[in-house]
Symmetry: C2
Subunit: 104 residues, 2 copies
DNA sequence: ATTAAAGCCTAGTGTTGCTAGGTATAACTT
DNA sequence: AAGTTATACCTAGCAACACTAGGCTTTAAT
């Protein structure tokens, strides 16, 4: 459903915070105005992929009175990648806009 | 490279004209300001797919002093699909914009 | 005690668009 | 005349992506 822009969405959603997967799903739903409601089967493998790529780092956290969570934060190259992907999105979107004759 | 929006791009590029594959590639390149330069291996299978789906109709044309071309035009449901996909793109793009905090 | 919610995970699959080829004709160069 | 470039069409195979559809555990609510 996110058509190749999932990584940018994940990086932007985490931003300067440290969020766990479930919270990321809710944050994306909230920030997109309910537009994107991503299944767990989309999120978790993507987080693993981004960590493997060195854009995210995770650690397990035990909140008092809750079960263990795996929280993710951007690495330096994750922050850099976010900047690039944001620019990439804008360039991409303006290209599509031109061709579709929409929002021109 | 078009991340799931290829069909919309093709339908919009053809529009009210009747274009052949090669001309579609050039039109996309021109209309996108050089941003999208799609290989033939992307275009031709996609045109076939859209024709199979009933969104495009093709016919062979022999221009005087040129080789045969297969020209594509939108069907009625192709026109309808284009309207839907344009709206879909705008909705999608504004969702991504919100999440990325870009072009807000 | 049961159910629901929070939280993590994976295997498998369909769609998509790419690479990397192949073929044929027309136009332009040398 | 020969060779190259541009035009024009095509396909097989592949890799990435994100989805479906499950499974597992712990805490909160009923």
């Amino acid at each position: 459903m996110l058509k190749g822009h999932l990584d940018a969405v994940l990086l932007a959603t985490i931003g300067d915070d440290a969020l766990h997967g479930y919270a990321i799903i809710e944050a994306i739903r909230a920030r997109s105005g309910g537009h994107f409601d991503l299944p767990e089967g989309t999120i978790y493998p993507a987080l693993h992929r981004l960590e493997l790529a060195g854009l995210l780092a995770s650690r397990w956290v035990q909140p008092n009175g809750g079960r263990k969570r795996r929280v993710y934060a951007l690495t330096d190259s994750g922050r850099q990648s976010l900047v690039e992907r944001r620019a990439g999105w804008q360039s991409f979107a303006s290209g599509i806009d031109r061709v579709l004759g929409a929002r021109a």
